[in-house]
Amino acid sequence: MRSVLSLYSLDRPALQGFAKELREGLLADDRERLANLLELKGALAERLGETPRVIDWFLRPESNPEAAPLFSSLRRVAKKRALELQWTSPVPSLEGRLRQYDLLREDESLAKRIDKLLSASRLPWFLVRPGATCGWLDGAGRAELASGLRQVRAALPEELSAFAEALGDMDGDAVAHDAL
């Protein structure tokens, strides 16, 4: 089954706070604190103590069956703390339309903002899942993209039109993700 894109509103201070706590815990190698932060219990909490350093777990690939649940917990808690689901596209074709629809590609400003919203390099490492499409736009960038899309809305296919409306209905920063 192909994945579908969702839009989340981002509480940036909350995400910054989470990143700070995570970094401090990893620097101190404080396993108990990190287990609490990631809401790990039982065997998973104990797993943090099985490597020379906790950070070692997050250097392993997510395909590693022992590391996978730790990455999942990290994303789940980060999402709970800082993201709120606003909209999910009902169709898997949205990403392709965003990346390739001629009308959008010909407008440099629109294309640039769309590409940023779909660029995983712009999100913290702990929100990025291998192979997933994700990215972020700050409030002004989101508003500009929504406004630009609104201006050409009459010429957009249905899935892009719905995306434009959802983006315009949001406030502040936006995160797009198809695997969160």
Binding site: A19, L26, L27, D56, L59, P61, G96, P124, D138
Partner: protein
């Protein structure tokens, strides 16, 4: 500072930043990722089309024509091989021949000239080395090549003073001999450039269960080539050269 650095700063992942400057960059600046890697979003239209196997023919037309690679002449590797075979004079001659007026070749040429007592040649080259950009890079390559935490510390501190990016400082720390410094370096790298952190952990630290990330391969190789060349040449000689370069305005 690259665009992705700015984005990460906005999330509090690497130092402090302000939204306005990030927005300025959003509106036009060249996107570059930490460590000088090529931005993955440089031309997403091409990337997306390539991924889908549907490269737009109009885009294809705009690509520059392929050129045949020029025959390769001698390089740093050849000079280092001569040196390792005990032929330091021939190695210096080759380094003079391949020197393009800057970069690693000039650094090794100057270090070889210094070793050979060619003081006039060294004096001529020192200002070039002093102006090498980015200024932190050579310091961290020497620090890594020294393989001695105590000797390396001063070069890492000088690199910090030259505003070395978090990934580069993290890398230098991650290859330290001190366990706490290694941990600090790994954490800094993970937050600055997760793919590069995995690659360093796999290739430099040989950590169990960790795999190099193909996405960071080029960035890794670019930095490691210099470090390994310096190590092969003799890190202490190059370190002494950097100390001399500092006297004429170097980092």
């Amino acid at each position: 500072m690259g665009f992705f650095d700015k984005a990460k700063r906005l999330f509090g992942l690497s130092g402090s930043g302000d939204e306005e400057s990030a927005r300025e960059e959003e509106s036009g600046g060249e996107a570059r990722a930490p460590g000088g890697r090529e931005p993955r979003e440089e031309d997403p239209r091409l990337l997306a089309a390539e991924r889908a196997g549907k490269l737009d023919p109009r885009r294809r037309d705009r690509r520059p024509p392929l050129v045949e690679a020029a025959p390769q002449g001698p390089g740093v590797e050849d000079a280092l091989a001569l040196r390792e075979a005990g032929n330091k004079g021939a190695a210096l001659a080759m380094l003079r021949e391949i020197d393009k007026g800057g970069g690693l070749r000039t650094v090794l040429r100057a270090a070889a000239a210094m070793e050979a007592g060619e003081s006039e040649e060294v004096e001529r080259l020192l200002p070039v080395i002093a102006k090498e950009e980015p200024r932190y890079k050579l310091l961290l390559q020497v620090a890594g090549a020294l393989g001695d935490a105590k000797a390396a510390r001063g070069y890492i501190e000088r690199a910090e003073g030259e505003k070395a990016p978090a990934w580069a400082l993290g890398w230098a720390k991650a290859t330290s001999e001190d366990a706490e410094t290694v941990r600090e370096g790994l954490v800094e790298m993970v937050f600055a450039d997760h793919a590069l952190a995995r690659t360093v952990a796999a290739r430099d630290l040989h950590m169990e269960g960790v795999e190099a990330d193909a996405d960071a391969g080029a960035r890794y190789a670019a930095f490691v080539h210099g470090r390994e060349s310096i190590r092969r040449f003799g890190a202490r000689q190059v370190a002494a050269l950097l100390d001399e370069a500092r006297k004429v305005g170097g980092a």
